[in-house]
Symmetry: C2
Subunit: 401 residues, 2 copies
């Protein structure tokens, strides 16, 4: 049994704050600054260039960290060992997966949905346009995805958990349906990894990508990850064929030869410092299982929905009511959503706003408990009852919301 | 006048070590751990998600750091203000620049040379292959580049300073010649930025890319940079069209619209922690000018060549003898180069080896002085005189050399 009070004590949460935005940026693990200081001072400072062979977790070398830590992320998403690697940003990993998938099929249509994170669609748009090979990016509504799987589709590229509402696609069923029609699948796990149980191996997903700065608490700009199914890993031909994906990077050959399996999805020099911060969070993740996290998450999101619906009748639930159909977040709609969120933040309840009218709250069992849920409901009720959001100062948009 | 003794005192250099590998990984600025701790504890820890607007240098927000710090790098490479942005890895930035350049020309040939860093060639190879539009990557010897500039070439993509020998291309002359034939230029400044004066604006370079973990001391895996000439910056159409290059990232529109100027070359979420480490080094760079660094570098490399040639007759200079034709490194050839370098490292003189026979030594005036040069020559002479490299323990290759 996971002791969630113990995991909560391992994060820094500012006094007076109820942080319901760990689905956007996870908080600081208390051990992260010391781990970072160690890597900077003892490894970078003392080992210098030899850190590539001697530094990092277990002294396995900085060069080994992207796959070593990749396996620890892999456990949380049901990946086979040695099939996840960390690096780059999620947008780059989306591009990498889609470019690889398009090389595996003669079909020209990429299917996605308008609940996908926009950057995924932008990257696909940029790739398709650059290729000039007659590809089409077809974007349907999330509920139309299954019916839109037809034999002309080459690749299904979607995000499992909708970033706005928390609505979940059924990964097992859609992947099975896609495969029955000869369609490859790319799953974006940005709002799944550390949020809901994912079993990539069982679902037989072809590719998966995700980020580590949300539920995985890797810090602002933490590296992304990519998974390639074992049956494809030695066959995919990377478009982003960087030297660290080369079979023998330090031979400095002129010609590219892809490395073994997931190694070929590495591109450039690994982000050693960022990986050190992530490692501190993965130590906490090692204390639990996704099944326990999911049970606790459903308890928290259910409690929040019940509390808000009882206290704030003008807010409309935007997330699925069935806990099995939503991720680890709860969203409500209100025409004054932006101002309401600013009023909440001013009172220490931090969620976020997504245009045009979504108030979004993330529930992260590693450090959010029932007391936090009840506290957030009380503050939200106070803001709504007194129309406390109805002030000019809350209506001015900041650059980043 | 730069006080190089003062800048040297701002780096951590392990006792007993003469570090001549700052051209591969720069050493730790002493202020970097504190700056990192501040960003982790005071910004990530306390500001949480609001750090995107409030964190970072000058409180300008984490989101602003890639261009704010980009300008500080830009000063060192002669870029116009607001035309450099940090992010991703150098391999990704090469791909991004080349993809953009290929969209600007109908010509199909990319010219490069076999002195280019292999990852640049690999990335070009991967892009050209993915496009399937009949492009050709033509690789000639470095000395054949100028004569190989013909009207069928669309893009010249080369590294200014050869990573093995320090041989320099003439950026001004080659760019002028290329432009006279309607050829776009992409300059890789990996071994130029912080090593030699670069004046991108005067040379009228079209694109430039580079990394910040070598001479710029940003730490292992520090982010890369990209420059786009002002005359192109609002015209290029990014292939890697990520959300942070979007005109309005937080509108979450379905369609991509490129941001203004260099902003469109951003891709995913910026690497906030890595940028904090880089900032500590840029504070030191603010204490000097590239003209002074170059003068001192030429003095150091000249002194090293003279010393080694006098003391070690079996080593053959691989770098240009004319100081104006070499970067800030000196390379010698020897058939037993690998074992010799291991023997040097065992005695505290750290350089590196590049296959098949190159001993490479970087000279970095911010923290390397004449005493270091003389000390390194003495140790090298001792190793060569006594054939101290001739031991089994120095012949076993490690994974990363």
């Amino acid at each position: 049994m996971t002791d969630f009070a113990a995991t909560k004590a391992l994060f820094h949460l500012p006094p007076g704050v109820i942080y319901l935005d760990g689905n956007s940026l996870g908080p600081l693990p208390l051990s992260a600054p010391a781990r970072m200081a160690q890597v900077m001072t003892d490894e970078w400072g003392e080992m210098l260039i030899t850190g590539w062979n001697r530094g990092g977790s277990d002294g396995a070398g900085w060069m080994a960290q992207p796959t070593l830590l990749g396996d620890r992320v892999g456990r949380l998403i049901g990946a086979e060992p040695s099939h996840v690697v960390l690096g780059d940003t999620l947008s780059i990993k989306v591009y990498q997966a889609l470019a690889a998938a398009l090389e595996m099929t003669e079909r020209k249509v990429v299917l996605s949905d308008n609940g996908n994170f926009p950057s995924d669609l932008y990257m696909a748009e940029g790739l398709v346009r650059s290729l000039r090979q007659g590809h089409e990016l077809r974007i349907v509504a999330p509920e139309e995805v299954e019916a839109s799987l037809t034999p002309e589709i080459g690749v299904l590229m979607i995000t499992e958990v909708d970033y706005r509402t928390g609505r979940m696609h059924d990964m097992v069923r859609l992947t099975e349906r896609a495969h029955s029609l000869g369609i490859l699948t790319i799953w974006d796990l940005a709002h799944s990894a550390g949020a809901v149980p994912v079993d990539l191996a069982r679902a037989r997903a072809d590719f998966a990508v995700g980020c580590t700065y949300k539920y995985l608490n890797g810090g602002p700009g933490a590296p992304a990850f990519i998974y390639v199914a074992p049956r494809h890993a030695n066959r995919v031909r990377p478009a982003l064929s960087g030297w660290l994906g080369h079979e023998s990077p330090f031979a400095f050959d002129i010609d590219y030869r892809p490395g073994a399996g997931i190694e070929r999805m590495r591109v450039g020099t690994p982000p050693v410092l960022a990986l050190a911060a992530l490692e501190a969070s993965l130590d906490i993740w090692d204390m639990t299982t996704m099944a326990e996290v999911r049970a606790r998450s459903q308890e928290l999101t259910g409690r929040f929905i019940a509390g808000v619906e009882a206290a704030c009748p003008t807010l409309t639930l935007a997330s699925p009511r069935d806990p099995d159909l939503r991720g680890s977040q709860v969203s409500f709609r209100h025409a004054q959503g932006y101002a309401i969120m600013q009023a909440l933040i001013a009172r220490g309840v931090i969620g976020d706003f997504r245009a045009p009218d979504i108030l979004r709250f993330g529930f992260t069992p590693l450090y959010i408990d029932q007391g936090d849920v009840d506290g957030a409901v009380a503050v939200l009720a106070e803001v709504m009852d007194g129309a406390l959001w109805d002030r000019d100062e809350y209506r001015t948009r900041s650059r980043v919301t």
